[in-house]
């Protein structure tokens, strides 16, 4: 006798899990009952707005959630922030520093939360880290090995917004373009606007390249906030149902 009550809560269906590469030693993948949902996209693509709405919806539907993002680890977030301000670390060093930040959150937040059956919403994941480094000429195979520690998410959504629109959204929020989001360290142009456009363009091309390998879902970020959210909810519902 199966009766669906109005407050019936969907229990996420279990699906096989894997790490992208060697993973984290000693983790039993079968014990990770939760779900890992990643939202990727440039600054201004609407990631945080969408994540906030997803949390509302998921919690309303009876799921426990946890949020993670880049540069939020206990171990190195402070130092990373300073490193960016001063622009004093070389390429490989900064890359490994970010990987340390990621690994710390993976082991101390993401994996325990998944084990406890939470839905983990990640505001960016390894793809942004890889794309940034690839645009800066780092070896893709080296990056793939480095991030072989990462768990494959249940879904990855890339909010696609063209650079022309990103720059407008950026100015609507702040008066100035961000140094790193403009790729000023690359010396693409001394004109910050030019540099921003070139850098964001290169980032999008790199994301498309990564999409071929990692197969994430590209979401049109030019639609209304509600339309995008409805789209995401539909796709996440399918993930929870085990499709």
């Amino acid at each position: 006798m199966k009766r669906v009550t109005p407050n019936h809560i969907v229990v996420p269906r279990r699906t096989p899990r894997r790490f992208y590469g060697h993973g984290i030693p000693g983790v039993d993948l079968d014990k990770l009952a939760g779900r890992l949902i990643v939202v990727e996209g440039a600054d201004g693509s609407g990631r945080s707005t969408q994540i906030a709405m997803l949390v509302e919806w998921l919690e309303g539907s009876g799921h426990a959630t946890v949020q993670v993002g880049l540069k939020r680890s206990t171990l190195v977030s402070e130092e990373l922030e300073k490193a960016q301000e001063g622009n004093i670390l070389s390429r490989t060093t900064l890359s490994l520093f970010y990987a340390t930040d990621f690994a710390d959150q993976l082991e101390n937040i993401i994996l325990p939360a998944l084990k406890a059956g939470f839905i983990v919403l990640a505001d960016r994941y390894i793809y942004t880290l890889m794309a940034r480094d690839m645009v800066r000429g780092m070896d893709e195979a080296w990056l793939r090995n480095l991030y072989g520690i990462a768990l494959e998410p249940d879904a990855v959504f890339y909010l696609n917004v063209p650079p022309e629109e990103l720059v407008q959204r950026g100015f609507a929020k702040n008066a100035a373009l961000d140094y790193w989001e403009s790729g000023m360290d690359l010396g693409l142009s001394r004109d910050m606007f030019d540099s921003f456009m070139k850098y964001q363009d290169a980032m999008q091309q790199t994301f498309r390249k990564l999409q071929a390998t990692y197969g994430f879902t590209i979401v049109d970020g030019m639609r209304s906030i509600e339309a995008i959210n409805a789209d995401l909810r539909k796709k996440i519902s399918a993930v929870l149902a085990g499709h």
Binding site: G21, T74, L89, T93, A103, L146
Partner: protein, 249 residues
């Protein structure tokens, strides 16, 4: 992976590896003195990491926040920082760079901690191989005695306490060092370690080290260019003034 010589660097990197207490630091110091006295361009990399990376590493260690993966990554970050800021520029400038420990320490240590060997090696694949690697091979008991005789305060990670090998730090250190030695020995052939019997007298070891360095490196290539002595004219106005150590007339 290639050595700095194979990559066309004018400088050469000499690394020493071995367990704590194997005497490698003494040996590299004596090597440095010998090269300096010959007025060669030599630099001993003292592993000065930048304040930022150091701050994260010491926080992680003090508060025991590190897992095998983050331990490995934070040390790789630290190494990359020194590699990019110190080693590469010095080697480009034609220095003989002496390193007390290099990537092999990480290869051994991280694998003992349970990280996959291929992953660890991949992390460090941005680094070139040393041109010479001395491995100071002492009997495990000899090196353990040297460290433990003083009954030092062994630090948590240094003693491998995170591996839960034993609740006694000294016992844990012994087991940890034993496993490190196994890893070093397994790498010895692959990476052409020049194995020095570290049970011998300091002088005997140093004699061998100097002999191998002189044989493998063309030391004349690293001589500091003599700067031409300052021309006698034009006379600086100060010249008429008495120097502090001269008696004025």
């Amino acid at each position: 992976m290639k050595t700095f010589a194979e990559l066309g660097f004018p400088g050469r990197l000499v690394a020493v590896e071995g367990l704590d207490g194997s005497g490698k630091s003494t040996q590299i110091y004596l090597l440095k003195r010998w090269l300096e006295i010959q007025r060669l361009k030599v630099y001993f990399s003292e592993w000065n990491s930048s304040e930022l990376v150091k701050s994260a590493t010491s926080k992680g260690k003090k508060r025991e926040l590190l897992t095998p993966t983050t331990f490995s990554l934070i040390h790789a970050t630290d190494f990359a920082d020194r590699y990019e800021r110190h080693l590469v520029p010095l080697l480009r400038a034609g220095y003989i760079v002496l390193c007390d420990r290099y990537i092999f320490t990480a290869f051994a240590r991280d694998v003992v901690r349970g990280c996959p060997p291929e992953w660890v090696r991949g992390l460090y694949s941005f680094a070139a191989l040393p041109d010479l690697t001395f491995f100071f091979k002492a009997d495990l008991e000899v090196s353990l005695q040297r460290i433990l005789d003083g009954r030092p305060q062994l630090k948590y990670f240094e003693a491998g306490m995170d591996l839960r090998l034993s609740s006694d730090p000294y016992e844990s250190f012994r087991i940890f060092q034993g496993r490190m030695l196994e890893q070093y020995l397994a790498m010895s052939t692959e990476f052409n370690f020049l194995v020095v019997d570290a049970n011998q007298l300091v002088e005997k070891q140093q004699e061998l080290v100097r002999e191998l360095v002189a044989h493998r490196l063309n030391l004349d290539d690293f001589r500091r260019a003599e700067r031409p002595s300052s021309p006698p004219t034009p006379a600086a106005p100060r010249k008429n003034r008495a120097k502090p150590n001269e008696v004025p007339e």
